[in-house]
Amino acid sequence: MVPARRWLMAGMALVAACAGRSPEPARSSTAMTGSGPSELREPAAFAAIADPTERSRALFLEASRVILHPRCANCHPDGDSPHQGTQPQLHDPPVTRGPDDRGVVGMHCDGCHQDRNLELARVPGAPDWHLAPRTMAWVGKSPGAICEQLKDLKRNGGRTLAQIVEHNTHDELVGWGWNPGWEREPAPGTQERFGAIIAEWVRTGAQCPSQEARR
């Protein structure tokens, strides 16, 4: 059985246990939460996976539900233009990343995007609104490939694992994913829980899922 399938089965066993259909020992009641499409499971929900390596991989796959959500992936394009919408479309007006990922002269990101959402104008905003660099592109990549990229100092902006945890837990632009304003679908869960998952992923060895694994 491939590792991803194995942890998925473990997760299913957890759900079955909570539904009273399995002799599995009872887990924390919170293990039931976060299984919906808009929710994110807490790190403790993965405690049933005994092997730390497999647990780490499973944690990253859970995190990938946020990473690959359009609220996050739209600004991690593998190209020069961001996307928008839940069914991602090219950004309108047509913008390009420019030399520093903040647009070109006359069309800088902050020419329109403010430091917070504008509900009446429907323009999304957060501090230092900008595109992720090309080396941090997520669109079209598997969770496994993103995981390897995220750990690569040459592609992650020189961030240590601790800095990655901090960035994902507290960065305000990252946090916009859960506060997107004007009827936009937020990323699953909360930034606090996403940060906790990333922290637990690091604590368990920052292992990457296989290239085929999907959540």
Partner: protein
Amino acid sequence: MSIRFRLNGVDREVDADPEMPLLWVLRDLLGLAGTKYGCGQALCGACTVHLDGEAVRSCVTPIRRIAGRSVVTIEGLSPDGSHPLQRAWVDLGVPQCGFCQAGQIMTAAALLARTSRPTDADIDRSLAGNLCRCGTYQRIRAAVKKAAGIAEG
């Protein structure tokens, strides 16, 4: 809330809600009607002005952001309409209805301030967010190149 800023080279102070869009301040409080209201959603570029030299959409720029900074509108681009872009606009008869042209010129001015000899691709990328419902895009591009001293091929 009282907010001080520099407008077209002159220190100004306005008393307004800090979330009020700059466009409202310019047009309704200060009577500078050259900057136009187009869409109100930063989608058309008609309201483009300069904030510390960078092109911004005044319809979505809250005035709390301009405190202590410098704003230039089409009225302040030159004292007498003699900016190279304004001259080129007249020479080539760029406008049709004219509504979008202040925004077009302000964006183009920001481009030329950074890129004195822009390529067609530079012009297209920088002006991609300034819509013209009359379709004067070719004349706009020609005028930007004329202002930059680039002979049309």
